[in-house]
Symmetry: C2
């Protein structure tokens, strides 16, 4: 039964912004990885908006989340609204696709120059810190020595924090939204998503052909993720116990699985729709790769104590927690900011009141902008 209507329930999309430039940067040497392996001369796909000024003091790095891309003007356009966070007129905004992704940077779908075959499941673990290390080389190539601001939500925020720790002298401010080291519930949710993909017989231990990807597994993974990105109050308000809007009846059969599978409720139709949309735009192995990047992020790794790690920070940090976020609860974000402050760094905290859950930094951009003003 087709879904012939927009389920998002969100406000009409803002016009997206075209980048000044979008292209690839190929590292001129191998990237040593925290896991002990190396990535042979990887490519970073990136986009820039605006122009670097003569003083080279207007550069901003935006870091994207799990399934985002370098095209920040497309997925975070309201951040660029007049008087908002960024300015196309005054800022030089850079956004770099994560390693492991399927949006242009080297990932499991890329060819391994050492073998001539695509990486597939042999793609190594690339940590958040590895990404930051590679991003720094790209910024060098652009002539950007210092960032007036690095910002991101979720995995984007993980990168922003690592920037302030690994390159303290290069970052003036950081804006970190809806993130802290992933807790046990977050690790659990990622474990469920990983299994949804692994269990799909089309996954073939990661060696699927591009034309036969594990669609159902990736769609289910996305649905599991969606419940963690949104909130129970939002679902309740939007969907409640309504039958699916296409006319299915939960009290009747749906033709599959006899009496065991009934017509869907509206929330189920919504989740299915989200899964279907996602598999049109994302790759299962890339998803697995970035889940691992997310899981393993530990800003204290290699440091003797939180104090040792966070005392390196010179940037002024602003953390934003989202009131209804249960993947990275606001309290956890607040305590993370406090821990960094205790180490002597400047770390403020603000809370965004929203029913949209973790997703609020994307779903309620105007609210976010208001909070930051």
């Amino acid at each position: 039964m087709p879904d012939t209507y927009n389920r998002s329930g969100a406000s009409p999309p803002s016009p997206t912004l075209a980048p000044t430039y979008e292209g690839d940067f190929v590292l001129d040497r191998d990237l040593p990885l925290d896991c002990g392996r190396t990535l042979a001369c990887p490519t970073l796909h990136y986009a820039v908006y605006g122009r670097l000024n003569a003083a080279r003091d207007n550069a901003v790095l935006v870091c994207h989340a799990l399934s985002g891309s370098a095209l920040v003007g497309s997925w975070w356009p309201e951040i660029f609204a007049p008087g908002a966070v960024l300015s196309l007129e005054h800022d030089f905004v850079i956004c770099i696709n994560l390693l492991g992704s399927c949006y242009g940077s080297t990932g499991p779908g890329a060819v391994n120059p050492e073998t001539g075959s695509i990486y597939g499941p042999d793609f190594p673990l690339v940590s958040i810190r590895d990404n930051v290390r590679a991003q720094a080389q790209l910024l060098d190539s652009l002539g950007v020595r210092r960032l007036r601001l690095v910002l991101g939500g979720s995995i984007g925020g993980m990168q922003a924090i690592e920037w302030t720790i690994q390159h303290p002298e290069r970052v003036q401010r950081a804006l970190v939204i809806g993130v802290a080291p992933l807790g046990a519930m977050g690790l659990a949710l990622n474990h469920l998503q990983r299994q949804a993909i692994q269990h799909d017989p089309e996954w073939l231990a990661g060696r699927y052909l591009p034309q036969c990807p594990p669609r159902r597994g990736l769609a289910l993974a996305r649905q599991i993720a969606m419940i963690s990105y949104k909130s129970a109050p939002l679902f309740e308000e939007r969907f409640g116990r309504n039958p699916n809007r296409n006319g299915e009846n939960p009290w009747q059969l749906n033709g599959v699985g006899g009496g065991l599978i009934g017509g869907r409720f509206d929330i189920a139709g919504y989740l299915d729709h989200q899964g279907t949309r996602f598999i049109e735009r994302f790759d299962a192995n890339a998803y697995l790769a970035i889940l691992r990047t997310m899981d393993t992020w530990d800003p204290l790794r290699g440091y003797a104590s939180p104090a040792e790690a966070y005392a390196r920070i010179r940037a002024r940090l602003l953390f934003v927690g989202i009131s209804s976020d249960w993947l990275f609860p606001a309290d956890t974000v607040r305590r993370f900011a406090e821990e960094i402050r205790r180490a002597g760094a400047q770390a403020d905290y603000r809370e965004m009141a929203s029913d949209h859950g973790h997703d609020a930094f994307l779903a309620e951009q105007a609210e976010l902008v208001r909070l930051l003003q």
Copy 2:
């Protein structure tokens, strides 16, 4: 890698109680179902503890949750502790396995007497109200006209409430723990679990052979359920970001899926263990059948208003919400009690402070007993 240790982290199990009698009751006529179909002379498997007194005023009905059984003395033993909720000496306790289950009552694994084959996916939707209707016939056969108490948590609580609405003259008190009509987030979680089973190629649209069940799908469904039964604080305290206790290292590979699948964190090992334990004891089609029973429960179905439904209630109800329950949040349970009270019924509310989430009524029985005293 084997899990050779107990992961529950719970207190040592209480000695379980043997029932006075455990057996089958076969309805002498077909059971008409709310969905419009009938179930041909279904069997109810049940257990009783203690004896019905001469005045026949000491009967108690315990209703079990999704994967429970009639053996309440085994899964809720502390409710029978001296001075607790039930008394083996004074009460006549009945517990009846849900229709659709794999623990003795007629379910998808039973033979359909009309065809001579097992129901499999043709097993019809049996509502909570259908179960109560069948249970009433079993109680009639036992000479139990009136219940001094009906009680249950989760789906057990759904049955308890339906008892007070459908048979107001037969119920004196009801104890309803951690339940309210399932909200959109609960429906979402059930939708995810359903798909995990449906996507398993061994499911075969519900026509799998008993020796080749959809193990991986059911295990994943159970894992999804586990995150909704427990709470983030409990997971954080027990597992945090620890690597799996069997020595796996999340920074290294686990031998499957190359660099895309690393060693597990401890929470992942725990969830896998829960999934493995569950498939040893439960059936996938039974799971799907009871998910549908749960999804479709609507105490207002067929009534013009909440007032019309709840004004029927003559029993005195006590609702218990669990502070960390996010499947049936305490606030939702409290509001449900208020709605029933507004209709003129007696409905009190108490809240159990626990980090154990929805599962607290099973995991922290001593706490529950203390709250009820």
